[in-house]
């Protein structure tokens, strides 16, 4: 059985143009069903199973087993906690449940640094599934998730268009979409938008990201590595090329995931909203990897501030907001992985938010007469863009190779 699975061809999600032909053909019956006001749940489960199988078969068959075990594990936790929550509500049990739910990802993220190789528990997309599971536990505690069945939870967890890299949906939102078949005109509008996103995604991922990532980036990388000085124009080139590649690659991927979700009648949230137009770092996080940053905002930042305010942990509001920003972004850094450059990335993003808040307060208090015009707006966009690009250079890990000779 294993040998057979290992010998099958593997299809990375949205990896090649032909993948889209297969995928669209497979979901066409679903679209026809939705057009006539029907959701073919069994057919959808079958198609989802096949495409998820194809993402993890072949050489990555071990990940398929990890995925199955992981989903069963999280389903038991969520259903168990939901059952418990019907009659009890102890904070200790809630925190323990969250800890058990994040345990696999903690092991997966710690393994490379602690034991030197990747954990067998890991699979592509484990982080995204963890966010969905923990979010569901938190909303269950708040009494917001009232009804949940193992089947509906699994369907939410492994929703095929978004399984490996998001966007991160929320259980209640997803389930509401899933239970209601959209009106015909509303569905046609979704399909229309979906087609637009699909082609925008092609442009982003297969054309623009290709040029930045496969053409320009290697040129600057080579030139930078050949130059022994610690700072060079080529390093700046690496920074911009990587940053642009990162955006167009990830935004393109997210557009695919959203488009396919739309075709399947589910309004998966958008992940990017023209992030480089941001006038400050706070605005940037409302436009960049939105489903992740909002997850952190709602489940970490706001809950921490809520508790700290209620229990009066801090006398000064500004100190509290700074601590909350740092906590939020450092956690995000650690989530990316336990390496100095991810952690530094999180630290700098946190610091950026703290400084940004301080500047906004200072401006409101002392610079009432400061001009506010097109020029200052462009300065703000320029500063934000370059700060973000700099943090992406750190995030890329290139500096680890450049300064310390470590290969990735």
């Amino acid at each position: 059985m294993i040998n057979w699975i290992a010998s099958l061809p593997n299809f990375t999600a949205y990896g090649t143009p032909i993948y889209f032909v297969y995928l669209l053909l497979a979901i066409l019956p679903l679209s026809i069903g939705l057009y006539f006001g029907k959701r073919f749940a069994w057919y959808e489960a079958l198609v989802s199973f096949i495409f998820i199988f194809l993402m993890f078969d072949g050489a990555s068959w071990q990940q398929l087993i990890s995925l199955i075990v992981y989903v069963i594990y999280q389903t038991i936790i969520v259903m168990g906690y939901h059952h418990y929550r019907q009659s009890n509500n102890s904070s200790l049990i809630f925190y323990l449940t969250c800890a058990v739910s994040i345990l696999p990802i903690v092991i997966v993220k710690l393994s490379p640094a602690m034991v030197g190789h990747n954990s067998l528990l890991g699979f592509l997309g484990i982080s995204y599934l963890t966010f969905r599971a923990v979010g569901t536990v938190i909303e269950t505690r708040d009494g917001m998730v009232k009804q949940i069945s193992p089947w509906s939870f699994i369907r939410f967890m492994v929703f095929m268009p978004t399984i490996t890299s998001g966007p991160i949906d929320r259980y209640r939102r997803f389930e509401k979409d899933y239970q209601a078949v959209p009106e015909r005109t509303a569905y046609l509008k979704l399909v229309n938008t979906g087609i637009y996103y699909l082609f925008l995604g092609f442009l982003y991922k297969f054309i623009i990201a290709y040029f930045f990532g496969q053409r320009f980036y290697p040129y600057f990388e080579k030139a930078a590595m050949a130059d022994p000085s610690p700072l060079s124009w080529n390093l700046l080139g690496v920074m911009y090329m990587y940053g642009m590649y990162l955006f167009f690659d990830f935004a393109g991927y997210s557009l695919f995931a959203v488009a396919i979700s739309y075709f399947m009648g589910v309004k998966t949230p958008m992940n990017f909203k023209q992030p480089f137009k941001s006038k400050n770092i706070k605005e940037f996080w409302n436009r960049w990897h939105i489903s992740l940053s909002f997850w952190f905002r709602d489940y970490i930042f706001m809950r921490f501030v809520f508790m700290a305010t209620k229990k009066r942990w801090f006398k000064n509001r500004n100190v509290l907001s700074s601590v909350a920003y740092m906590l939020n972004m450092m956690l995000m850094g650690f989530w990316h992985g336990i390496t100095w450059y991810y952690i530094l990335y999180g630290f700098l993003q946190g610091l950026g938010l703290v400084v940004n808040d301080w500047w906004l307060r200072y401006k409101r208090k002392h610079l009432k007469g400061m001009p506010h015009n097109t020029f200052t707006k462009w300065v703000a966009i320029f500063v934000t863009f370059n700060f973000v690009m700099f943090t992406f250079l750190i995030f890329s890990g290139f500096l680890d190779t450049y300064f310390f000779g470590n290969t990735h």
Binding site: E139, D142, M144, D298, V305, F306, T309, L320, S321
Partner: protein, 79 residues
């Protein structure tokens, strides 16, 4: 109740009550409310109106104007 809510908003954001005069204005889109201020608003609503508003109940699209806040608070009071 509307006035109370406007006062809560003004307190939480450090702005004048007159900034919230337009009760159909989107508070999040215009940057009047950020996450920090939102939490202060939530806590103040809980104290003043003795209602329970868990953070995850706070779906921004349902709480984004003064009018909607009044409506939601009334709903929660009746629950």
């Amino acid at each position: 109740m509307k006035e109370d809510i406007i006062n809560i908003l003004a307190d939480a954001t450090g702005r004048d009550a007159s900034d919230f005069a337009d009760s159909s204005e989107d508070l999040f889109a215009d940057g009047l409310l950020d996450s920090m201020a939102t939490v202060s608003v939530l806590l103040a609503l809980q104290d003043q109106f003795s209602i329970q508003v868990p953070v995850s109940e706070f779906d921004r699209s349902q709480w984004n104007t003064v009018d909607k806040m009044v409506e939601r608070v009334k709903e929660l009071q009746n629950d």
